[in-house]
């Protein structure tokens, strides 16, 4: 019987295998501990978190009118509902094979993080009790729906189950209406959106639109039609040759001169389209790498089976190419999310812009370290979520991994 070394023994072997290794390890550990202690000391005793507490609404929503904020609460509740539905359903389907607990290990972690966040964050921000209770309610809703669906989700008929993912695009459109108004709701001008709301809205809009656009451009670049091919090449190379900030300035300032007064779309939307067109060129190159990795025989085989070109592309070429291109594409999405901070340079109040205007408030001068730290954590969370999501997707799409074993190829 093989005795597995204990954790401690393993650590000893990794860190102190030789005298030199031991010295390096000690130096590194000492450095890390001092840095962590210094940060903790600063965060607990020296930092003045009042700037975050007083401006938490501003960081979250910008100057969104107070009397319309119920719309965003409704949207958050709907998002929690949809998340619970999808999450529960995912577990319910996976459970059909080998016996798995209702809450696998990863889910228990997520559960703990969610509960702790909803209890600690509103309290740390000193939000009023009514608002704290709203956060508890929303978290409870998410978890209850997740539990119920995980428990009885497999009993839902397959046809209905297949429709459930459709709630996401519907929710996105509904969210747009809730945020901007229309359909009987008071209009809230885009200039009043801000903070995390604007950052997420801009990046999600650009991510959703740049992906199909990028695929079309990549196909165009490999097209046999010279006009289409050269058009795509020109577009991609032009966009990749210009820094994003110059394109943003172009969109903000030149459009106003070119279009007669009032014709140009709102500056927030102008920026959103610039981001979209910019990211599309890079996504196109990522997708092209996926297309290039695919043996030419795949397309030829599909065509020789009698599939028309669009069908051959949709059913044979693209699913394989996109799987290869996925990591690079998600990398592009993450950098797109970070690129939204450039919006603060053209005077939009995204997360960074809001932070800068908060730091200009004479009441909070000199507290920039606190603000930047919170910003860094927020951005890290958003990017980490994107990264985790993409890794889970890769895992599911990978034909050789275990978790996709019970998915039919058409689903993959």
């Amino acid at each position: 019987m093989i005795v597995r070394p204990s954790r401690l023994e393993q650590l000893r072997q990794e860190l102190f295998s030789s005298r030199l290794n031991g010295l390096i390890s000690i130096a590194l550990i000492a450095f890390l501990v001092t840095a962590a202690l210094g940060l903790a000391k600063w965060a607990l005793f020296q930092a003045q978190w009042a700037v975050i507490r007083a401006n938490s609404t501003l960081f979250a929503l910008g100057r969104y009118p107070l009397e319309q904020q119920w719309r965003l609460w409704l949207l958050t509740a709907l998002l929690a509902l949809a998340t619970g539905l999808s999450w529960g359903l995912l577990r319910a389907i996976l459970r059909s094979g080998p016996p798995v607990t209702l809450w696998p290990r990863n889910d228990r972690w997520a559960l703990a993080v969610l509960v702790l966040l909803s209890l600690w964050l509103p309290m740390a921000l000193r939000l009023s009790l009514a608002i704290q209770m709203r956060w508890w309610g929303i978290t409870l809703l998410l978890l209850v729906v997740r539990w119920a669906l995980g428990r009885w989700g497999s009993a839902i008929p397959a046809t209905a189950r297949r429709l459930i993912p459709l709630i996401w695009p519907l929710l996105y459109l509904l969210g747009m209406v809730l945020i901007s108004g229309g359909l009987g709701l008071v209009q809230v001008a885009p200039s009043e959106w801000g903070g995390l709301l604007l950052t997420l809205l801009m990046s999600s809009f650009a991510i959703l639109l740049c992906f199909p656009l990028g695929i079309l451009l990549a196909l165009g670049r490999r097209s046999a039609l010279p006009l289409l091919r050269w058009g795509s090449v020109l577009y991609i190379e032009f966009i990749r040759g210009a820094p994003l900030i110059t394109l943003l300035f172009l969109g903000q300032n030149i459009l106003g001169f070119l279009l007669p007064g009032g014709m140009a779309p709102d500056r927030v939307w102008r920026a959103a389209w610039v981001l979209t067109f910019f990211a599309a060129a890079y996504v196109a190159e990522a997708v092209r790498s996926g297309l290039a990795a695919l043996p030419a025989g795949q397309l030829e085989a599909a065509r020789s089976l009698g599939l028309p070109m669009p069908q051959a592309l949709i059913h044979v070429v693209l699913p394989q190419a996109l799987r290869v291109a996925l990591p690079a594409t998600v990398g592009q999405f993450i950098s797109l999310l970070q690129d939204t901070t450039l919006l603060s340079l053209i005077g939009l109040l995204d997360l960074l812009g809001t932070a800068r205007t908060v730091m200009a408030n004479p009441a909070f001068l000199g507290q920039s370290a606190e603000v930047y730290l919170v910003l860094a954590v927020l951005f890290w969370c958003c990017c980490a979520a994107l990264g985790l999501g993409s890794r889970a997707l890769e895992e599911r799409l990978n034909p050789h991994s275990r978790s996709s074993a019970n998915l039919s190829p058409s689903q993959a």
């Binding site: 009118p65 300035f249 007669p260």
Partner: protein, 351 residues
């Protein structure tokens, strides 16, 4: 693109014609008509400048630059809340004004010849709302009273800026040797000053005051009276609409005049009642628009002064609230004092 230009060109021509035609009418202003029909004023601000424009936790804009947006909106539309603020970076501010994205630029913009001239940025500047200028800050305990006392000592300065050149020029004028300690960024400069590596640090007066509020002991640092450069900060509009520029100009003057004759946001109602009751207070009656047609000549309501002062107070109140000794910035009035107190704030007569 070309077709758009082609359709836009006749439009621009037509606009120019209308502009010429309106010269005879005197008070027809496309901008003012547009603002009135839109129902709010679009005001370009910095949005990130302590004391001048920033967003308060409740989402409202405040600051000295912002107050002039409010006063203008109050004078033209009767409501200081009818302003849409647009944050502009310094590189896009003139383009935004030129393309009509904003009606009024109230964004700590220094008035210079090339920005005013038709061959330059072609702006129309309103009167100065804040006389800024390069200053020198020293620790209060150092006993330094003026720039001369700094001679022979190290001064922290950000390199590659006009600040650095102004300092060198002035010290040469004073025939005083000094050691410039140059830094790449503002943060490094102030950090070095706080560590005591130099006895003085130099930048714009309002900048120094803002930085000082973040120091561990703000009261321990003073600004020397010497002024190393002139930075008059003025609101601006486009050159092509003189009537609108005049309206903005006289809104600014009205706040300065109100301070000179002792009218505040608190006492304006009493003063107004007094002026309405007493026919002998001719000057005050004209100022408030009780008699005469000063407002009408500008294309503004007769009581535009009353509306503006009620909205933000007189110039002294605006200054004190946002950057004055009562605010975190703790700036002295200095040259921003009324002319009777030896400052530069001077309104031409309301006649």
């Amino acid at each position: 693109m070309l077709r758009r230009l082609a359709t836009a060109l006749p439009l621009i021509g037509a606009l120019a014609l209308v502009g010429c035609a309106s010269d005879g009418g005197g008070i027809q202003s496309q901008k003012m008509a547009a603002i009135k029909s839109r129902g709010n004023l679009i005001c370009g601000v910095d949005g990130k400048l302590p004391g001048f424009s920033f967003v308060a936790p409740d989402g409202s804009y405040s600051g000295l630059d912002v107050d002039f947006c409010k006063a203008t909106a109050a004078a033209l539309l009767g409501d200081p809340a009818k302003v849409t603020y647009r944050d502009l970076s310094s590189s896009e501010r003139f383009a935004a004004l030129g393309s009509g994205e904003v009606d009024l630029l109230s964004r700590n913009t220094t008035m210079t010849l090339s920005r005013d001239a038709p061959g330059g940025n072609a702006l129309a500047f309103a009167p100065t709302t804040f006389y800024d200028g390069q200053a020198v800050m020293v620790p209060a305990s150092s006993g330094i009273q003026s720039l001369k006392d700094v001679a022979g000592k190290p001064i922290c300065v950000e390199t590659g800026t006009s600040t650095e050149l102004n300092l060198a020029d002035r010290m040469r004028e004073l025939n005083a040797a000094y050691t410039p300690l140059k830094f790449q960024s503002g943060d490094q400069t102030y950090a070095a000053y706080l560590q005591g590596r130099c006895v003085a640090v130099t930048s714009d007066r309002s900048q120094l005051a803002a930085k000082r509020t973040g120091f561990p002991n703000p009261a321990g640092h003073i600004l020397l009276p010497d002024v190393l450069s002139k930075e008059p900060l003025n609101p601006a509009t486009v050159n092509s609409d003189p009537a609108w520029a005049d309206a903005v100009r006289w809104v600014v003057y009205s706040l300065i005049e109100a301070e000179e004759i002792g009218i505040t946001a608190a006492n304006i109602d009493a003063k107004l009642a007094e002026a309405e009751a007493n026919k002998n207070l001719a000057q005050l009656r004209r100022f408030f628009g009780v008699e005469g047609d000063l407002g009408k000549q500008l294309g503004l309501p007769a009581d535009f002064v009353v509306k503006a002062v009620k909205a933000v107070g007189n110039y002294g109140e605006v200054f004190e609230r946002n950057v004055g000794t009562g605010s975190p910035l703790k700036l002295e009035r200095g040259v921003n004092q009324q002319w009777r107190q030896g400052g530069l704030m001077y309104s031409p007569p309301f006649l």
